[in-house]
């Protein structure tokens, strides 16, 4: 049972790993072992830059999350009740279940609005 479950979880990932060594450009046709795609990867400056950006964002996000989440966790478990604690608890669980597309679009709308406000401020 457990083996089948793990097979389901890992088969797609292993298929990707195996076919990354494929000579052919096609995902499903095996035409021999090759490292040429890895060579291309390290020559592709755009790809390397993108990887650096991802890494930077990930590191900053992780640090900020640990800091904010430790504080939030302390507030939820160690602090006595205060006005607004229920709202605080709600705000913590809400992003966990909120569909990503809603969070994304509303964040984008806020940044657009902030941009408008900045432009209006600068032109006045």
């Amino acid at each position: 049972m457990l083996v089948l479950g793990y097979l389901f979880l890992y088969a797609p990932i292993f298929s990707l790993i195996v076919y990354s060594f494929n000579e052919s450009r096609l995902v499903t046709v095996w035409s021999g072992f090759s490292l040429k795609w890895y060579g291309e990867l390290f020559r592709d400056q755009e790809m390397i830059d993108a990887a650096w950006v991802s890494l930077r964002i990930a590191v900053f996000t992780a640090f900020a999350s640990v800091l904010l989440a430790t504080m939030a966790g302390m507030v939820m478990t160690r602090f006595r009740r205060f006005a607004g604690k229920t709202l605080f608890g709600g705000l913590i669980t809400a992003p966990l279940v909120m569909p990503e597309v809603i969070t994304g679009v509303s964040l984008l709308l806020m940044f657009v609005t902030l941009g408008e406000m900045r432009d209006a401020h600068m032109s006045s």
Partner: protein
Amino acid sequence: MIARLQRWIPGARWLVIAPPYVWLLMFFAVPFAISLKISFAKMLIASPPYTSLLQWDGSKVSMHLDFDNYLFLVRDSEYVDAYLNSLWIALVSTFYCLLVGYPIAYAISRLSPSARNAAIMLVVLPSWTSFLIRIYAWIGILKNNGLLNNLLIRLGVIHDPIPILHTQTAIYIGIVYAYLPFMVLPLYTNLVKHDPRLLEAAYDLGAKPWKAFLKITLPLSKAGIIAGSMLVLIPAVGEFVIPELLGPSTNLMIGRVLWQEFFDNRDWPVASAVSLVMLLLLLIPIMIFHHYQAKDLESKLS
């Protein structure tokens, strides 16, 4: 007097409360209020592409709430169908996810304590690789000359490839695959707490294993089933990437409609209304989840 003053001067504890609180308000509550505001506006071909709610005509401020966007959603059968379709796909996927996830969680909870952590780690590990890449991998597996069809043909099970990619089935597979860890984790944390003596007592009293399971394990794991199901159901309703990559082009899930309204039609007011109605639909499952999670937290603390 001093005691009264002290109540109003922020103490050290507010230094701990404020940063996460302000962060959540700023990046969660405020964006939400802004989409609510925009959903009551009208679309404009301008920047920003919507009308403002407050009008200033020299002497007075008037507020203009436009419910057209909401009426439009209710009247246009395309939106209603997309909402129902999303809910249905999410419900079916959640059911399959439970069907696949429960045996996995159960099997892991029966392992020796030292093996459990490694086993649960192996369930979570795939979600550390990029979501997009894992879904792409399924294209290679499910397409007509993909790995699955090739395997089945070579085994002699089928002669002609069966089309799976770009069907509803592919969406189900994708959602079950992507959200399986969210189902397994709450189920596992629940199942691992069960007292094995309860099952032993049932066996001693002559219960068959399946009966003991139905009478003891299943009812006791209710909170885990509900928490896991909500964690899959709610994001699955808004799922956009999986139907876009694996599903048929005719399949309109509401996340995809929202995307089209926002980026293709640039109708931000309607897009905001679409997302708010989606949230309204999800409010009940979100509250159920919150209720069971709060309960779980309390039982852990006591």
